[in-house]
């Protein structure tokens, strides 16, 4: 586990892969695997000595507090304007959640219990806090590997997505231009949007309401126009503080005896499957839309419907420029990408609603 911790630290520093999370997790993996480590709860001479990481885990992850607080920060960071100017982009966010449910089928076929299969599947949400929330809600036995897979593949989006997109699209499709009207959205729309989305998600998928609600609360702080300093605090201080604690606290679940198993490798493989099917779901939905609409969409936009923000939209933008240097897809991809952020949270709630009865 020390080697795995070292690899995570190396990837964070040298490869710049989600350093804010992988570095604390890597260090934590070393910390908890030191024999008789005082950082985690141990039974010594029959007496239970409580470790600080277990205290943090019980206080921040076991009760889903950290991922929800992180969502306030994420909500405050997101500008939904590209989505509000072109609401049909929301459909791509929905389609790109296909990987979650496809992976659930795959994980069940590989013999994982339903609670673990669903927790593994949610890696496809491409959204760390949602993965932590759902896996923890279901009391999964594999929280550590699931979180590592979720954050690693988010960082690997620029490597994972392009081959899938190229495989599923023709050069002609990748060159499709999309008009961007750039029409402005009123302040009242921006303020009402997070409130209404919370109510809609709450009515249709009540289990998603905590996730959606905290995400949208953060966005409301951003858009209301009177809480500038709170918005800044949520975006920077709160998000950084929670990310810092989240990374090292997750390591409490990375003890060698539970982590170094064949199942961990299977989870990493299934996480990749989830991202592949997410990307395919979004791209194929774009192609399907083109069969029925006059104004053609560039199907690559569908790949940005996964939640990994802003990596997925950058990938699509760069691929568009690689085919045609004058074809700028960034605003459309960003719209699909923020739609994916909402849809992934809703997918988490829908999944919980379907299996927890």
């Amino acid at each position: 586990m020390w080697a795995i911790g070292g690899i995570l630290i190396y990837l964070a520093i040298k490869k710049d892969m989600e350093p804010s999370l992988l570095l604390p997790m890597g260090f934590g993996a070393i910390l908890v695997n030191i024999p008789m480590s005082g950082a985690i709860t141990q039974i010594i001479d029959g007496a239970k000595e409580i470790g600080v990481l277990n205290v943090l885990f019980d206080g921040g992850i076991a009760n889903e507090l950290f991922p929800l607080l992180l969502f306030i920060g994420i909500g405050a960071m997101i500008d939904f304007e590209p989505l509000l100017t072109n609401p049909k982009l929301m459909l791509f966010g929905a389609a790109a959640q296909f990987g979650i449910f496809a992976t659930l089928v795959g994980a069940s076929l590989l013999g994982f219990q339903l609670k673990d299969a669903a927790s593994i599947a949610i890696i496809g949400a491409a959204d760390g806090p949602t993965s932590i929330f759902v896996a923890n809600y279901l009391n999964s036995n594999f929280l550590g590997p699931i979180i590592i897979a979720a954050y690693s593949y988010m960082a690997l989006v620029p490597i994972v997505q392009p081959p899938i997109i190229k495989l599923l699209t023709t050069k002609h499709e990748r060159c499709i231009r999309m008009e961007y009207t750039g029409s402005s959205v009123s302040q009242s729309t921006k303020i009402l949007f997070p409130i209404i989305v919370t109510v809609i998600a709450g009515v249709f998928a009540p289990r998603s309401v905590a996730l959606v609600g905290f995400l949208m609360f953060g966005n409301l702080i951003r858009e209301c126009g009177v809480l500038g300093s709170l918005s800044d605090t949520a975006q920077k201080v709160l998000a950084n503080l929670i990310t810092l604690l989240l990374g090292i606290t997750v390591a409490a679940n990375m003890q060698a005896e539970s982590f170094l198993t064949l199942r961990t490798l299977m989870i990493l493989g299934l996480g990749l499957v989830a991202f592949i099917f997410d990307t395919a779901g979004g791209v194929l939905f774009g192609k399907l839309m083109n069969l029925f609409t006059k104004k053609k969409v560039n199907p690559m936009i569908g790949a940005a419907g996964i939640s990994a923000f802003p990596m997925a939209s950058r990938v699509v933008h760069k691929m568009g420029l690689a085919e045609d240097k004058t074809n700028h897809l960034l605003m459309h991809a960003a719209g699909a990408n923020v739609a994916g952020q909402i849809a992934s949270v809703i997918a988490g709630g829908v999944l919980l609603s379907l299996i927890v009865k």
Binding site: L109, F204, I342, V350, V356
Partner: protein, 50 residues
């Protein structure tokens, strides 16, 4: 559903179908809402001219 057991293929396939359907229903509701909000917030051309 029994969370501690391995779900049969028929169950997971129905979760797949219902899950995607559920996401698209919520999505449709959000799209309609955004469209209505945009319509309500945009002053009509007639109003602008007058």
């Amino acid at each position: 559903m029994n969370l501690e057991a391995v779900a049969p293929l028929s169950d997971t396939m129905s979760i797949l179908g219902l899950g995607m359907l559920g996401i698209f229903i919520v999505t449709a509701a959000i799209i309609i809402t955004i469209t209505l909000l945009n319509l309500l917030a945009t002053p009509s051309k007639k109003g602008k001219q007058s």
